[in-house]
Amino acid sequence: MNKRLSLGMAFVLLVLPSSLLVAFTHYPAVRALANSLWNNATSRRPSRFVGLDNYAALLEDEKLLQVLINSGLYALGTIPLAIVLAIGMALLVNSRLPATSLMRLSFFMPTMLPMVAVANIWLFFYAPGIGLASQILSSMGLPSVNFLGSTETSLVSMMVVAVWKEAGLFMIFYLAALQTVPVHLKEAARLEGAGSVRVFLDVVLPLLRPTTIFVAVNALINAFRLVDHIIVMTRGGPNNSSALLLYYIYEVTFGHRDFAYGATLTVLMVVILGALAAFQYRVLDRRTHYQ
């Protein structure tokens, strides 16, 4: 089995994937960096090198500031909540309650739906006056809330959709991790007189930490990557209150057709994501116990 690959074969195996990587990851990244140094040329405006002008524009862009705040709030609001819910659901379906497979299915269902479908479902939930949310509120005698149409509620409404969609996926990872927690460790803790809360906090949770890192990184990526529901439900409105960074990039690049500024924003996003990933791996990794 340990036969060495021929040099030619190794070359082919190396070149194929790396050319894909170059074509679809490295080339666009370098191209975005290059584009961000030029103006947005059209048939009526000649192309010209502008150096760092586009980056200077970033600093004066009030909308970008709001978008960054929105993105930060969105990440802070969705990631911890999705993780807590995922652990809770995993514990529930891992227990010996009746109908766990039905529970697993229903918790996992939102994850299987495409985001666009999810967004359309929630569009009905949120519709003021006629939607499910309004019906529930009015049955309790409360006035109907214009969830997607007011600046106070639009971002939170988007977060709820994201958590609803994501938590089921993370549950699966936690469920897998929970099933690998050795029973003898839990039994040993119980012999020492630990209650089930104590067992969970001191035995199970530390063993889940690698999963938590994996899930947190994925959740962070998704918080920046998934904007389908914004496009379907609010288009970033009202007054940009639900616009996230990737949506803003899409709007500037393909809506306004300002490819230069879109490229500049893309570079900014890559820098932010890179910094966050480096931070996560450094800080969390150091305190993690891998089996």
Binding site: T42, S43, R44, R45, K63, L123, A127, P128, G129, I130, S138, G141, L142, P143, S144, N146, L148, G149, S150, T151, R235, G237, P238, N239, N240, S241, E251, F254, G255, H256, R257, D258
Partner: protein, 428 residues
Amino acid sequence: MKLNRTSTLQAVMGAMLGAGVASVQAADLEFYFPVGVNAPAVATIEALTNAWAAKNPQHTVKAVYAGNYEETTTKALTAAQAGDPPQVAVLLAIDIFTLVEEDVIVPISDIATSAEDKAWMSSFYPSFMKDATFEGKTYAIPFQRSTPVFYYNKDAFREAGLDPDSPPKSWAEMIEVGKKLVVKDANGNVTRWGTRIPTLGLGGAWLFGGLVVSKGDVLSTDTGTEARFDTPAAKASLDFLLQLAAEGVMQPGGISWGDTPKAFLERQTASMWTSTGNLAFVSENAEFDWGVGFLPGGDGPGAPIGGGNFYIFKGTTDEERAAALDFIKFMTSPENAAVWAIATGYVAPRPDAWEMPEMKAYVQRLPQALVALEQLPHAEREFAVFQRAKVTQYLVDAIESVLAGSAEPAAALAAAQKKADEVLKEYR
């Protein structure tokens, strides 16, 4: 094999006929279209497209439903930049400046040069041709054109003791009548609002243009280089929207375009301002007596003209352009314009379409369909400038921030004006 032999035979015969065949050179057309209203539009477009293909077996045409207006424009532009444009597309009339700037469309007046073609181009309503023209050339042919109209629930009017045959004409009447139409439940929560004007996004900006027109001003001029946001008319229009919410006639905060027809049909609102393109949807689904009127106006009637036109793309062969032109002529013929208008509620863009027997029968059955046509003389073109998407966003931000209560009308409009001038000064 049999099939092959037949086609070889045809090719040989074709070659023998020589020049006669050249004029019917085959073309494969790709046709992008958007749907911006709640109507069985896709099925109708496909039926019309298939009818053209059946009449012209030498050509093929693929109708591609590409989403709403903005998405369709984005897709068409992206495809054109990738070197694979659709030959023909229905895109927003106001995107003419963007399409010219991106250099992706050919003037239709450069293709349609015969006397017959010229007569055809002048057979449309001049109001619809105005925004299809730039620098003396006709770039587009009107297809799904509309103005917003005032839809109202006549039963609700009767309930409130109002005359169901006289909808409000002015803003003052709108507020007065609207107050009477509001219904609250035992807890004091509103279960039916007086009216509903979409204020969010592009749809909101479109209707806002109508408010400004009714105050005797416009948001943009024919040059495509001037935005007029910081005007008394625009300020008065914002004040009117704020007043509707303050007086409890309309739900406070932003109101979405998409939910509006549904809210009207569900009796969540006694009236709504939306495109005449929703006429068929309302007519099929309303379970109450309803009417249509002019948009209530500030100083008089006023409305924006909106909707989509046919464009022919660059990067196409002469045969494809000829076929595309023929396709457009077919789609906008009086018969098919009537079919399209009846299926959706869009305003048939040429007078002779209204003379078709099926159109006459339709108007008799649904007299509401005439209102948009009668409103046309009071309507002005929709906001259109170079960098339209970007500059419209400044207006959208201004409207939304004022309605959210986070900015004052005058300051928001002045800020939008400043940003718009910054973008447009490069084009003057």
